[in-house]
Structure formats: structure tokens, C-alpha cells
């Protein structure tokens, strides 16, 4: 079956026709995401933020897919997709705030939903957003992020089915990182590939090397173009690997082998691969690489400082936006809690 589901690759072949400026931008954003995740893990170890789900190893999937969108498209993220949100315009300070247990404000100009914590229940939202774009007469699309484990949920199947029936301009971007916390891909489905599930819903399915940022960018761009042309949804299976823990509360050594990890880390790291490609094609020097890494550190430092500079939360924050206008019950409950807060 997998012969009919080839894995798209670019880095292993010749030169890509992705514009040079975009190639460098993709690399730069992967550096930024990797640096951010490393910093976030440190912040968590220092007790400055709470549980954090790093995307170490999945940078090409995150960055390559999000760059295929334009600002008016919708990003419908899962909890590990701060990389895609960052590309779409979310300040990294908001990611820090989220990990500090605070609800960061999304800008209303940012066409993104809050990250979905339950698995795959956000996929029907992407279908609805795509249908809204369709019915409002725009050619905007919606791109939903989820993982291999997410394909086991009923909402995955309902969303793909609805999208097929309504020919919704939506891209289902599945990052198959091999593990749903501790449960391997083979325990999620007997299907040989995840992409082939598209067949059951009469939609397009694609597999891509998810650690090849140019291939991800290309495959998702093609899916986006099809959706914009009114040719319907695509399920993309992006083959990648989570180099880090599921979250900072997880210990992957309990369930997967050091050999597997080493193999992915040493020979398939998406950032090393792209660096090698850019340097081989004369598109990046060691000095420029160093400058990008330095700039990333400085930007992250500023974002962390911005998040940590905010005053502690007030009780009102959890009441204010539950409804457009708080019913009197809620106002009374808020007053009782505020009255019990000791004043400094």
C-alpha cells in the first residue's frame, strides 16, 4: 500500500525552486523555534513556567506548514503548535504566558483559535472556519494541526468526512511523530499509512518527509492552492519525530529506545539537514548561521522579559470574557472571591 503513498522529499535531491529568501526564512524560524523550546525547558526547570510541550525535532513540520499560509487563513492548532502560531503572528511572549498558566490574549487580527488541549476535537472547527470562508465568498483556507494519536479520535473522522462532503477548503496537517505520549503509532491504527485514511473520505492524501522543511512547505503550499481553487480538502501526513518529551512532565526513556532517539537525532535532525542544504548551495555561511542564532536568543530574551514583567493576575481575569456580558450570578460570584482576596 505504501508504494502508492510516496513520501515527498526535497533536501535529498537537487536545488529547490522555493525562493531563496523563503528558504533562509524557513531556516531562521526553525532556529528560533528550537531556541525557544530549549529556553522554555530551562524556564520550566527553574520553576518560572509550568508544564511545557516542546516541539524539538518537529521544527520543519511546524515552520514549513505555517509558511504556506497567508495572514487571512486560519490556523487551528493543537497544544504543541506554538511554532506554527509564531509564524502566523503570535508573539512568543504569549506562548510564555500560556506556559505560566495565564490565558494570553490572542489579537483579534490573528486568524487563529486558542490551542486545543483535547485531542482532535478542534478538527471540526477547522472545517467550520473553512465553510465560513467558502460561504462568505473568500478564498481563505483553514489549516488544522494534530498528531498521529489524533487520528484515532472520532472527531478526526467526522471532520474529514464533513470536509469531503462539503468540499471545504481545509488542510488536515497530521504530524506523525511516532508517539502519542508513550503509545507507538502501530498501536493507533492498523493502517499502513495515515495519509491513506483520506481515501475513505474521498479527499486528497499526501505523505511528506516532515523533517524536510522545503518538502513540507511545498506539499502544504500545493494543498493550500488546491483548497483556494475550490478543489477541496487534503490530509497531509508529515513524518517526523519528537526528539523531546511529550511535555516537561514526561520521561520518554520509559517507553522508547535510546537507539531510536539517536538515529533521528544524529541523522535526521531537520535543522542540521536544512543547514547542510543551505551551505551546500551557497545560501548560508557559518557566520550568518551564528548571527541568526544570536538574534534568536536576543528576541527570546525580550519575549520572556515581556511576559515576566506583567503584574500577577487578578480574580476578574477568569470572569471577564466567559460571556460578552456577565450574568448577575457570575458578577456576584466574582465579588465574593474579590472580597476574600487579602489586600497588600
Amino acid at each position: 500500500m505504501s508504494e502508492s503513498w510516496p513520501v515527498a522529499e526535497v533536501l535529498s535531491g537537487g536545488a529547490s525552486d522555493v525562493p531563496t529568501a523563503m528558504q533562509r526564512r524557513l531556516y531562521e524560524d526553525m532556529i528560533l523555534l528550537r531556541s525557544f523550546d530549549e529556553r522554555a525547558i530551562n524556564l520550566q526547570r527553574q520553576g518560572r513556567i509550568g508544564t511545557f510541550p516542546p516541539s524539538l525535532g518537529q521544527e520543519a513540520s511546524e515552520i514549513g506548514s505555517a509558511h504556506a499560509l497567508r495572514a487571512s487563513d486560519w490556523v487551528v492548532p493543537s497544544y504543541r503548535d506554538h511554532g506554527a502560531l509564531m509564524v502566523h503572528g503570535l508573539p512568543l511572549s504569549n506562548v510564555v504566558l500560556f506556559a505560566m498558566g495565564r490565558t494570553p490574549s490572542l489579537s483579534s487580527a490573528l486568524r487563529a483559535l486558542p490551542t486545543s488541549i483535547p485531542i482532535s476535537t478542534h478538527l471540526p472547527h477547522a472545517v467550520g472556519l473553512a465553510i465560513a470562508a467558502q460561504k462568505l465568498g473568500t478564498d481563505d483556507v483553514a489549516l488544522a494541526y494534530f498528531g498521529d494519536g489524533g487520528t484515532s479520535e472520532g472527531d478526526f473522522h467526522e471532520a474529514l468526512n464533513f470536509a469531503g462532503v462539503f468540499k471545504a477548503p481545509v488542510i488536515f496537517f497530521c504530524q506523525n511523530n511516532g508517539w502519542a505520549i508513550s503509545v507507538p503509532r502501530a498501536r493507533q491504527t492498523a493502517s499502513e499509512t495515515l495519509a491513506q485514511k483520506a481515501v475513505a473520505y474521498g479527499i486528497e492524501g499526501r505523505r511528506v518527509d516532515g523533517n524536510d522543511v522545503l518538502a513540507v512547505y511545498q506539499v502544504v503550499s500545493e494543498a493550500v492552492a488546491r483548497a483556494r481553487r475550490g478543489e477541496g480538502p487534503t490530509l497531509v501526513e508529515s513524518l517526523t519525530y519528537r526528539l523531546g518529551p511529550h511535555t516537561t512532565a514526561d520521561d520518554p526513556s520509559r517507553y522508547r529506545s535510546a537507539e531510536e532517539y539517536q538515529d533521528w537525532k544524529e541523522s535526521r535532525d531537520p535543522i542540521q539537514r536544512m543547514a547542510g542544504y543551505l551551505m551546500a548551495h551557497g545560501l548560508l555561511t557559518a557566520e550568518e548561521d551564528q548571527a541568526m542564532r544570536q538574534a534568536a536568543q536576543e528576541r527570546i530574551q525580550a519575549e520572556v522579559e515581556a511576559a515576566e514583567a506583567l503584574p500577577p493576575v487578578e480574580p476578574a481575569g477568569m470572569f471577564q470574557h466567559v460571556f460578552a456580558q456577565a450574568p448577575s450570578d457570575l458578577a456576584a460570584q466574582r465579588r465574593r472571591i474579590e472580597e476574600a482576596v487579602p489586600h497588600a
Binding site: 486558542p114 486545543s116 476535537t121 472556519l129 465553510i131 465560513a132 460571556f323
Partner: protein, 326 residues
């Protein structure tokens, strides 16, 4: 002014809402050509076209989940779930997402979603077609829940639900769809969400109820009045979240006695919340303990048992008499 039953009132309201705002979309299972299993959407697809009124695949989570996305994306979706007993798969969408997205986005994402769902028993329906799960919905933060018991309120509450920037579940009592007719104005109007209605004034005791049970309460109250026995006030809550605590307080303060009536199972039912509200706002007026009359804590039974399950005039009358004795 034209007289309409509740299902006709809902139909003309949907027609009006579709006509006045191109963002309104009506969809669900069998709502298109078939006009809905109860005919709430009859002729709407013909009048407004398939892009606006359409059948969906048979999946309740998918319907509500898609509706959430449509609402966030700038439309005004009105989703129909065929029976409340089939809402369970959609509860995940309502509880995990619809009620939370505004708070989780600090008000940047709004979900102006309406879910219409027929509920309750009394029509000899097959099993699992008669559930009343308002307590689950009311317990989920971020959702509003309304229940009309008259054709007039069915129109006013549905229109208010579409106007509301937050997600609203409109529970429609199946038994009352065709039970009576009432003048329903053609022009647009709303019944404010969060306001109860005195369905029948009285001076000795207040029955607080909603939906299908409003008819049972009125029937019992009329019989007791006709017998010259007692004057019963009936308060139709209409809105289950937010609850009109002021109206509950006023009604019970006036009579000093109350019975709370609903068809959902007793334990954990919304009646407990209403009793709590009574003792918070009208405790010093109470002359007797408040009694609850409700469905028993059993799965809604096959219809051979339906008349035993559903609270009726006899059970309510007994409760009223016990409450008057103290």
C-alpha cells in the same frame, strides 16, 4: 394576529432570521428536503437555497464542532440536533469548546452559536428519544440554556438566541410542539434571555418549572382552582442559564410555599439548584419545606412505562397538598 403552534412559530422564526441576515445558516440531520423530523425547517431550503439550509452527515459532534468554526468565522449558525438523547456526542464540543473559547481567548474569539434540540417525553417515542439533560448543559460554564413552553416564547427566545454573541442551546419541548396555538406576531421580537415568566398568577403556593412540565403545572393549578381548593402560581423559568433568581425570589416570597417540578431525573437535576436559590433569596418567607417533583433516577423507560415516569397532575397535586399542610 396569526395563531400558531410551537413548531409553526419556530418555522416562521427561522424563515425570518434567514431572510433578514445572510450570515444565518440552518443545518442538521434531515433539515433540508425533509424539513426536519418535526418539520421545524419545512420549506426553508426551497426558500433560502441549499447553501443556507442544508443536511449534514450524521454526526452530532461534527455538526456542533463545524458550527463552532462557522460561528468564529463570521456566520450565525443555527444547528439542529434531532433529539436530546442524541446530543451526548455533541456535549464534548459544547463543554470542551463552545463554552470556553471566549474565555480562553480573552474575548477575542466569540462563538455566536445556536443549537436547537427537541427534548423530553410524552409522545410515546422510541427509547432514548425523550431525554432531558438541561442540568448537564447548565453546569457547563459559558453556555446559555433557554426553554420555551409557548409558541410566543419559542419565537422570542430563538430570535434572542441568534442575537446573542454567546453560545445558546434552545431546548424545545417535543410534547408542546403541537399541543396548543397562540397568537404569534409576524414582526421580529425577542424574549430576553434570563427572564422567567409568571404563566399563571396565584397566591397560596408557587410551582416553579419549565418546558413540557409547564403544561402539567397549569393543568394541576386549574383543577385545584376549579375545586376551590387553592390558588397556585406557576412560574415558567424559560431561561435555565442564566437563572432568573429575582423572579424566583419574588414568586416564593409572595406565596411562602413552593414546589419545583421537572421531568429530568431528580438527583442532580436542576430542581436542586432552584431549591438552593429559593433558600438563598426567600428563606425567611418560607412557611413549609420546598418539595421537588421530578422523574425518578432511572433511564427514561420504554413508553409502556412513560406515564409512570413523567410527573403528572396527580403527583404534582399530592406534592402541593403536602406542602400546604405544614
Amino acid at each position: 394576529m396569526p395563531e400558531r403552534n410551537m413548531i409553526q412559530a419556530i418555522n416562521v422564526t427561522l424563515d425570518q432570521l434567514l431572510a433578514e441576515d445572510a450570515r444565518v445558516m440552518v443545518f442538521g440531520e434531515d433539515v433540508g428536503k425533509n424539513g426536519g423530523v418535526f418539520r421545524a425547517t419545512e420549506h426553508l431550503q426551497d426558500r433560502h437555497g441549499e447553501p443556507r439550509v442544508f443536511d449534514t452527515p450524521l454526526a452530532e459532534s461534527g455538526i456542533i464542532g463545524m458550527a463552532i468554526g462557522m460561528a468564529v468565522g463570521g456566520l450565525l449558525p443555527i444547528a439542529e440536533i434531532q433529539f436530546m438523547g442524541f446530543l451526548y456526542p455533541g456535549l464534548d464540543q459544547l463543554m470542551s469548546h463552545a463554552g470556553r473559547l471566549s474565555a480562553r481567548s480573552q474575548g477575542q474569539v466569540k462563538v455566536p452559536l445556536v443549537v436547537r434540540v427537541p427534548f423530553g417525553g410524552g409522545i410515546r417515542a422510541p427509547e432514548q428519544h425523550a431525554d432531558s439533560i438541561e442540568a448537564l448543559l447548565v453546569h457547563a460554564p459559558g453556555l446559555k440554556v433557554v426553554v420555551p413552553s409557548t409558541p410566543y416564547d419559542a419565537k422570542g427566545l430563538l430570535t434572542a438566541a441568534v442575537d446573542d454573541p454567546d453560545p445558546v442551546v434552545v431546548m424545545e419541548p417535543i410534547r408542546l410542539y403541537r399541543l396548543g396555538r397562540q397568537e404569534v406576531p409576524d414582526e421580529r421580537y425577542t424574549v430576553p434571555i434570563g427572564t422567567a415568566r409568571v404563566a399563571r398568577p396565584g397566591s397560596d403556593l408557587t410551582v416553579i418549572t419549565w418546558g413540557n412540565m409547564v403544561a402539567v403545572a397549569l393543568d394541576a393549578a386549574e383543577a385545584l382552582a376549579a375545586a376551590g381548593e387553592v390558588s397556585v402560581e406557576v412560574l415558567d423559568l424559560r431561561s435555565l442559564y442564566p437563572l432568573d433568581r429575582e423572579a424566583i425570589g419574588a414568586a416564593v416570597s409572595k406565596t411562602g410555599r413552593a414546589v419545583v417540578l421537572h421531568e429530568a431525573p431528580m438527583t442532580g437535576g436542576l430542581g436542586g439548584e432552584v431549591v438552593a436559590a429559593i433558600q438563598e433569596v426567600a428563606f425567611w418567607s418560607l412557611q413549609a419545606p420546598v418539595e421537588r417533583v421530578a422523574g425518578p433516577d432511572v433511564p427514561y423507560p420504554p413508553y409502556a412505562w412513560e406515564d409512570f415516569y413523567l410527573p403528572n397532575r396527580a403527583r404534582l397535586t399530592q406534592a402541593i397538598r403536602r406542602t400546604l399542610k405544614d
